[in-house]
């Protein structure tokens, strides 16, 4: 079996008349990848197809070079942490993880040792003999993750692993994800809590309405969106006066006063606008507190792309731009752990 990778080629999946995934193509290499998308965007379906639990209606998925569906060797290289918080409450954490380890092909004692080590890695050593029914939400989440990594998979598929976790659990989980990615594993991490992805990686896949609307590093994706109006927020002592000075600059398509001291410019030519702002600030001797771009955050990018994906829905100019991004992304997005 070949090196650690996930490759999807024009993958589509539908449930009756509902299209869950639409011609998703991508290539992932070791490292942490954030899979971002709103509810119902196809994240879980995509994860399950990669995990070999579903077959796509069209297209092909290969994990480590082979199709995962019904493939024992592929399944042994995959660890899935499903989203749903549901487990056998009457089992202890150790029993549950041991059972999962045994299904991964380990003998009884090896499975038990691995389960104990895995639970310990996620901070559940003291609770491993307690029934799962008595676990807190964060502990259950960590038990799910422990079963996911107990067989040391090369490809980790984590479907919203931080849902309902407290800060302590979150720190433990993120640390474990980092460790595994740094050791050469491929981690696909779905969430809609964007700052969690930013804390782990800048490699993201944005999925909306069953389509991967962008793949790559945040700044690379930003570069692909030249037509996206760029926002520049300036906090200074005379915000209105600054707005008046910059307003007539070419590229400015909107100005918004957020408060007496804050003004936000919307530009389709950010380079020129930045220069104009700097010139105006210098000439007017403004007292500047900050110049920032809200677009630099993943949140803004995500909302923009999701909104655009919703508007486009596979037709018109947006769709063309979207397909351009998708085809451009694989060459720029693949890379090692960040």
């Amino acid at each position: 079996m070949s090196d650690v990778s996930v490759r999807a080629v024009r993958v589509s999946k539908w449930y009756g008349k509902v299209t869950a995934l639409q011609e998703v193509s991508l290539h992932l290499e070791p490292g942490v990848w954030g899979l971002l998308g709103p509810n119902g965007s196809g994240k879980t379906t995509f994860m399950r197809i990669i995990a070999g639990q579903m077959q796509p209606n069209l297209g092909e998925v290969r994990v480590c070079g082979v199709k995962p569906f019904g493939n024992v060797e592929a399944l042994r290289r995959i660890g899935l942490c499903p989203e749903a918080d549901a487990m056998y409450d009457e089992l202890t954490g150790l029993e549950f993880v041991t059972a999962m380890a045994r299904l991964s092909g380990y003998g009884k004692s090896e499975a038990s040792d691995r389960a104990a080590a895995s639970l310990s890695a996620f901070g559940l050593a003291d609770a491993q003999d307690r029934k799962i029914g008595g676990y807190s939400r964060g502990m259950r989440q960590r038990a799910k993750l422990a079963q996911c990594v107990v067989h040391e998979p090369d490809v980790l598929l984590l479907d919203e692993p931080l849902t309902g976790t407290d800060p302590t659990s979150r720190a433990v989980i993120l640390d474990q994800i980092r460790q595994r990615a740094n050791a050469g594993a491929l981690v696909l991490f779905s969430t809609h809590v964007l700052h969690e992805v930013e804390a782990l990686t800048d490699q993201v896949l944005l999925i909306a309405r069953g389509q991967v609307v962008a793949q790559g590093r945040v700044h690379e994706i930003r570069d692909l969106l030249e037509e996206h109006p760029h926002h520049i927020r300036v906090v200074c002592d005379r915000a209105r006066e600054l707005a008046a000075r910059v307003l007539m600059t070419s590229g400015i398509v909107g100005v918004r006063g957020l408060s007496d001291h804050t003004v936000e410019f919307e530009s389709v030519d950010p380079d020129t606008t930045y220069t104009s702002i700097a010139t105006a600030l210098a000439q007017g001797a403004f007292n500047v507190s900050s110049i920032t771009s809200p677009d630099a955050t993943l949140e803004a990018l995500f909302h923009y792309l999701v909104e655009r994906g919703s508007r486009g829905a596979g037709t018109g100019s947006d769709a063309e731009i979207g397909s351009g991004m998708r085809s451009a992304a694989p060459t720029s997005g693949a890379g090692g752990p960040s």
């Binding site: 639990q53 399944l75 059972a99 045994r102 299904l103 996911c148 460790q179």
Partner: protein, 295 residues
């Protein structure tokens, strides 16, 4: 340079074959089945009919040793003492008690809620992320119920046959020992058919209470209606709607205890049992494969 944590390395040791997962799942299913108090009750109380029959065997043995020539008297007394001379009916009756009193509890506690429970726990997403197939899963779930059912049918029957063989006239011992074979076949039939049907019933809904109720209805209602119709109108065809009655008809043929008043025979029941079992397998398989994660 990327820092690599040496605490994690991909496992390159021996992995057991994926086919072994059937046994792993079976063990897990057995432990889960044992967690049901209905199963525990059945396993602990399931020996009472056997004890009663063994006492009867011992009593008859003692009585016949007192009789002249060691042979039963003619007429009605012979029927009462026939457990040693014609034991087929006694063993057939023992099966009847075991099925209605204990196998019913086993299938109810271990089989009729099992897939519904896994639906509720969303267990498929864990199982099928491992090298586990739907067939392995169903084999294990059905197997656990079947093993408990088999234990409570064949073992008591075997012990009773052996008790009868020991107590019977030496000239009849070999003939009586031959009952082990129909007892084995009948136990396998009961345990496999009822387990498959119970597990299939458990797949019809995500509500364990509903699937267990459905199983009770399936066992009791057709049998009750058939008994009523048979008693009032002397029509026995309604028994063909009752799975335990279908099994009973086959049992009657195996132990040569056919009720000549009834028109329905084992050859009417056998095709229906085959159809019910095949239909149950199809239903359970379809439901599991159509569960959210396996397509």
């Amino acid at each position: 340079m990327t820092v690599r944590d040496l605490g994690y390395r991909a496992y390159d040791g021996v992995r057991l074959p994926a086919s072994r997962n059937t046994y792993v799942l079976l063990g897990h299913a057995m432990r889960r089945a044992w967690g049901s108090w209905l199963v525990k009750i059945a396993v602990f109380l399931g020996w009472i009919p056997l004890v009663v029959y063994l006492i009867k065997v011992m009593f008859v043995y003692w009585l016949m040793s007192k009789l002249e020539g060691g042979r039963p008297p003619p007429g009605e007394a012979a029927d009462a003492l026939g457990i040693l001379t014609d034991p087929g009916e006694s063993i057939r009756n023992l099966f009847n008690y075991q099925v209605w009193a204990f196998v019913t509890l086993i299938t109810l506690g271990a089989g009729s809620g099992t897939i519904a429970e896994d639906f509720t726990h969303k267990a498929f997403q864990f199982y099928f992320a491992k090298p586990v197939t739907a067939t392995q899963y169903l084999l294990a779930r059905t197997g656990a119920t079947a093993i408990f059912s088999f234990m409570l049918t064949f073992i008591p029957a075997l012990i009773l046959v052996l008790g009868i063989v020991v107590a019977a006239d030496p000239s009849l011992r070999l003939q009586h020992f031959g009952l082990v074979l129909p007892a084995l076949f009948y136990s396998l039939l009961i345990s496999s058919v009822l387990s498959v049907m119970a597990v299939a019933t458990s797949s019809i809904s995500k509500s364990r209470a509903l699937t267990m109720s459905a199983w009770i209805v399936l066992l009791i209602v057709p049998q009750s209606i058939a008994s009523l119709v048979s008693a009032i109108g002397n029509v026995s065809w309604f028994y063909l709607a009752s799975p335990p009655a279908l099994l009973g008809l086959v049992g009657d043929a195996l132990f040569k205890t056919v009720d000549t008043e009834h028109l329905v025979r084992w050859y009417h029941a056998a095709p229906l049992l085959i159809a019910l079992t095949a239909g149950s397998i199809w239903l359970a398989n379809r439901r599991v494969r159509n569960a959210e994660v396996i397509t």
